[in-house]
Symmetry: C2
Subunit: 297 residues, 2 copies
Amino acid sequence: MAIVIACVNHKGGCARTTTSVNLASALSLGSEKYGISSRRVLLVDMDPKGNVATTFGVDKRTVGPTMNELFSRGVDSSSLKLEDCTLGPDFLTRSMKASWRKSNPGKSRGPPNHIAVRNLWILPADMDLSGIEVDLATRVGRENRLKLALSEAMDSFDVIIIDTPASLGLLTVNALCAAEWVLIPIQAEFYALEGMGQLISAIRDVQKSVNPNLGLLGILMTMVQTRSKLCETVTEQARRHFGDRVFDSHIPRSVSIAESPLEGAPIVIAQKPNKTNSASRSYWEFAKEADRRISTI
Amino acid sequence: MAIVIACVNHKGGCARTTTSVNLASALSLGSEKYGISSRRVLLVDMDPKGNVATTFGVDKRTVGPTMNELFSRGVDSSSLKLEDCTLGPDFLTRSMKASWRKSNPGKSRGPPNHIAVRNLWILPADMDLSGIEVDLATRVGRENRLKLALSEAMDSFDVIIIDTPASLGLLTVNALCAAEWVLIPIQAEFYALEGMGQLISAIRDVQKSVNPNLGLLGILMTMVQTRSKLCETVTEQARRHFGDRVFDSHIPRSVSIAESPLEGAPIVIAQKPNKTNSASRSYWEFAKEADRRISTI
Ligand SMILES: Nc1ncnc2c1ncn2[C@@H]1O[C@H](COP(=O)(O)OP(=O)(O)OP(=O)(O)O)[C@@H](O)[C@H]1O
Ligand SMILES: Nc1ncnc2c1ncn2[C@@H]1O[C@H](COP(=O)(O)OP(=O)(O)OP(=O)(O)O)[C@@H](O)[C@H]1O
Ligand SMILES: [Mg+2]
Ligand SMILES: [Mg+2]
């Protein structure tokens, strides 16, 4: 049975996508150095913007059916299977290398070997998903569409990670109903605190009404600027609110994280986690902590 | 007749709220230095997170009815009037000064005189707005609810600015239907380009179906880091796509912009736009350009 993690926070731009793609990549690759065993990972995009696929250089025009069809018509009445909508590691590796070539036109040597994935599958999204959200509003069982669509995947993957849009609407509620764990990235800035209260009460509503098994995997502080007083204040308040649910590791604000999709890959793949690459190290250290929390369950 | 501007971009965290509150504040205060005449401004929050009110130190628990009621029941069947849901300049100034005192507990002198607004009214939002979005999905005329709710305001304000959530759902579509101008803030980063294509086609849909008068006021590059190659590339592509619709002024990434809500005010109020305060200057220069574009219409 797959472990399902939804990456949720309705505050925009807090690094939900960056965190989802890096955690998925790290868990699928595994690492001797960080003691992470490689797992079969499915990364599901529930955000109509579809930024997950773009991170791996996928040109969405070249992609077949997305999960919209499964989600809107339901598994029973659709002829599509989950694997028809999934992009596998070979396709992803090809897109990454093509994206690397586009960003490095002058280089005679091809893309480095490490620009690749294995054990990672992606369910991409597209803008039609936001139309489906409106259609589903009046349907019976509207919160459980994603859970039903993913039931096939529960036996063929070890971990399923779901990226969500910046909202607490039906798409995010579907992710919370399909998941057993919630991962909350927080950008330590002024509006973050107001959002935390709203987010926690929305999660409580889902736990009470549709998914009593939903637990809090943890809170990850992202884009942290150590010398900023605002950042310090918000991080302190998060630790006061959530105690040890806040991950020890945090992610620093770093240009190389923002630029890594240009190389066709998330930072844990684009950069080796050695002494000089603190950005890659920070996401690997977070993946190690998350892996520990998942394994001890 | 008020000029109505919707601040829209479905990419999260691109500074829609920061831009809306600063433009509204600058146009309501006016400035001899920048040649901006003071106008009566209504700032409408269509984002359930309700960050507009928080920027001015408003504690949402102390606020009466929000516009949710007007929006969901419609102007005809609700006993509420628009002014019952509006927070005026005196209330806002009191909240700002209280917020300033909270951030500066040790200071014996009270909040400085400039921590205040005049000519600015706010229609706050709260989380119930996202429930209403789902309810409205099947109602007739669902796209024009906001336009109807604001009809009373068209004669009593000079400018109406609408902040929107990070989505192209019904709340944002309502803002696009009520507006005659769209202002698009763009954070010059990797995912911005994919979003631009999606945003333009959504605006085109609204122009074709429900609001043919909708025009593009302009594109504002936000959180610009001049030494970043990624930022340069995205800004160049925005100028190639949109030509002179991209404002000449841009907003630099600046800690003082992120921290100004702690002082209970947007940056154009918290900081004088003198030589050393480039952050405040950048939003005043943008307000001047926007004011020119509005006035020449
Ligand atoms: N640690 C970091 N340092 C610097 N930039 C970062 C970092 N993490 C993410 N970013 C950048 O910040 C922006 C927002 O991140 P991302 O898109 O992952 O957030 P999100 O929460 O998924 O946003 P949305 O609300 O649009 O879905 C992106 O341009 C990303 O490249
Ligand atoms: N020029 C800037 N420099 C530094 N930080 C900024 C700047 N503009 C905005 N910010 C900060 O970036 C974050 C995102 O800005 P803001 O909340 O205004 O964006 P938004 O598009 O309204 O986000 P959301 O998608 O959550 O509605 C906030 O913490 C804000 O304080
Ligand atoms: Mg995202
Ligand atoms: Mg906002």
